[in-house]
């Protein structure tokens, strides 16, 4: 398994925002997850959903929708893992 950080994002309080990342091999099994880099204990900060587009026969685009559950701006890493 290979992991990495695809992007660093910032999201405003209560905001929902979508990022996309293209040119991924569709044959790879890729999962997406987030990690806040702005520490704040006591409650979850971010929620996210993943959607996928088959851009052509061999490549896909991932669309990651991020929701800031807090009343503070949150900075985060957009992380991925290639499972196989």
């Amino acid at each position: 398994m290979r992991t990495g950080v695809q992007w660093i994002g910032t999201i405003a309080p209560g905001e929902t925002r979508r990022w996309f990342t293209w040119g991924w091999q569709a044959s790879l099994h890729v999962v997406w997850y987030l990690m806040p880099t702005s520490p704040r204990s006591g409650a979850p900060q971010l929620d996210w959903d993943v959607a996928v587009e088959r851009a052509n026969s061999s490549h896909c685009t991932y669309w990651i929708t991020v929701k800031n559950l807090t009343s503070h701006t949150v900075r985060f890493e957009g992380r991925y893992a290639v499972l196989s």
């Binding site: 398994m1 996309f20 569709a26 044959s27 099994h29 890729v30 999962v31 959903d49 993943v50 959607a51 996928v52 587009e53 088959r54 851009a55 052509n56 026969s57 061999s58 896909c60 685009t61 669309w63 499972l83 196989s84």
Partner: protein, 265 residues
């Protein structure tokens, strides 16, 4: 003038981005997912786009008893008496070679010899023309379409046929009977426009750590197609059932793979 292979790839991507989402096929997309017929319209439109981007394509024509395997026809193959696609001269270390731009058959530019070889007739004959030739008969007679009106008519005809096929019981391409299920794929599914549907898969050891993902098989560039959520049921002390809820975000039917990865056994 020869171009680099990287530039040829960029031009391939340029035309392939015009691919029709099969169920809606909005103009002016190119119906690459209907490989059965209409290659001369696709080739002329591709040449128009490539020329507009500053390159100088030609065309290669092939004649013979041609047969190509494809997952984009319910019979898993198409048969042609002839076929045509744009070509580009690509520099190599020792000179240049002819590459073919044909998204109906390949996902990248390929050498002309490769393009010929997949068409299943060792005695097929080929001819090269400049890009302005719209149609070339086997005897060498040619027709032109400088205003692209004939090209538009051909593309419209085959976009409509692709839409009709996608709306039939066959659904949109690709066709599952033409596909081999890869390792890590639990099922092939089809989901209708804007539909949310739930699948389940049972008998998984609950001690395993299993991750589920979805990948569309139906090509449709321009926006996200599918999203999903996973739920789990502890069916017994040792086994569980996963319930995967897939949501189609588009107004077209989408075929997809339901994938799993066992992170820990």
């Amino acid at each position: 003038m020869a171009i680099t292979l990287q530039r040829a790839r960029e031009l391939f991507d340029l035309v392939n981005r015009k691919l029709c989402c099969p169920a809606s096929s909005p103009s002016p997309c190119i119906p690459f997912l209907y490989p059965d017929d209409g290659c001369w319209g696709r080739a002329h439109e591709m040449c128009r786009l490539i020329i507009a981007d500053g390159a100088t394509p030609r065309k290669v024509w092939i004649y013979g008893n041609l047969r190509v395997d494809t997952a984009n026809n319910p019979s898993c193959n198409v048969r042609w008496g002839w076929h045509v696609a744009p070509t580009l001269r690509v520099s190599t270390g020792s000179g240049s070679q002819t590459y073919v731009i044909d998204p109906s058959l390949f996902d990248r530019p390929v050498q002309q010899s490769t393009w010929v070889s997949v068409q299943g007739d060792a005695s097929a004959t080929t001819a090269s023309t400049d890009a302005s030739v719209f149609y070339r008969a086997y005897n060498g007679s040619v027709q032109y379409d400088p205003t692209y009106s004939e090209t538009r008519a051909v593309l419209t005809r085959y976009r409509n046929i692709l839409k009709l096929r996608s709306a039939s019981s066959n659904g949109p391409p690709p066709y599952f009977n033409c596909l081999t299920k890869p390792r890590g794929v639990q099922w092939f599914g089809t989901i209708g426009p804007r539909q949310t549907h739930r699948w389940y898969t049972w008998g998984w050891p609950s001690s395993w750590h299993v991750f589920w993902t979805i990948m569309p098989l139906t090509q449709c560039p321009g926006g996200p197609q599918l999203t999903w959520t996973v739920q789990v049921e502890r069916a017994s002390t040792s086994q569980c059932t996963y319930w995967i809820i897939v949501k189609n975000l588009t107004s077209d039917s989408v075929k997809f793979e339901g994938r799993y990865d066992i992170l820990k056994r």
